[in-house]
Symmetry: C2
Subunit: 119 residues, 2 copies
């Protein structure tokens, strides 16, 4: 498929998709006249990339980690550690956000909630 379809199917703009490639996160095969061509699997790939971006992982970090995701052969211990470190960071972030929700709840709890009995 070409870039337009990939964009439509992932929700990523064509600009972003080209950027991902520029950052080494995604590869494409050029068709004769220079147009990018993607295999089906690219859809999943882009969705993963977006998900990792949303988790606060930078393109730099991703370009270190992604090869490891697709090709188990090149998983060096150092990459594995990095992967685990990122996982831990996200877990910590979840804990932080959970705390924030609790903080907001404490405030909201003080509000008169229509139809809800005060605790």
């Amino acid at each position: 498929m070409r870039i337009g379809e990939l964009s439509a199917r992932t929700g990523a703009s064509t600009r972003s998709i080209r950027y991902y490639e520029e950052q080494g996160l995604l590869t494409s095969v050029r068709s004769g006249s220079g147009q990018r061509t993607y295999p089906e699997a690219a859809v999943e790939r882009v969705l993963l990339i977006r998900r990792l971006f949303d988790a606060g992982i930078s393109s730099r970090t991703m370009s270190d980690l992604l090869p490891c995701l697709s090709d188990p052969a090149i998983r060096t211990p150092w990459l594995t550690d990095r992967l685990r470190a990122e996982r831990e960071r996200i877990v910590a972030e979840i804990a932080e956000l959970t705390g924030t929700v609790a903080a907001l709840d404490a405030v909201i709890g003080d509000l008169a909630v229509p139809g809800t009995p005060p605790r």
Copy 2:
């Protein structure tokens, strides 16, 4: 206390603290010669601000919501709704991150984990 101490006790740079004030998130009393003076409570305030920033709430949104946090009297229904909406956004973000952790775990699970039995 003056800005330096507030900075030291919160971990926020003096630059950031002045920025928070500029955005209407924090107030200070100027002492004769123009230096900012803060009450004890400012420490908690700054920590809350940072926490909300980390949760992805913009200064704009915060300046809408913060008065509501400190002064229950001015809680309009619309502010309450906004507060709840932010809460929901964060909960959704937590869910997304949890999914991301699961995705990473799936990959990490494939790795040979030294000393850990394969599941």
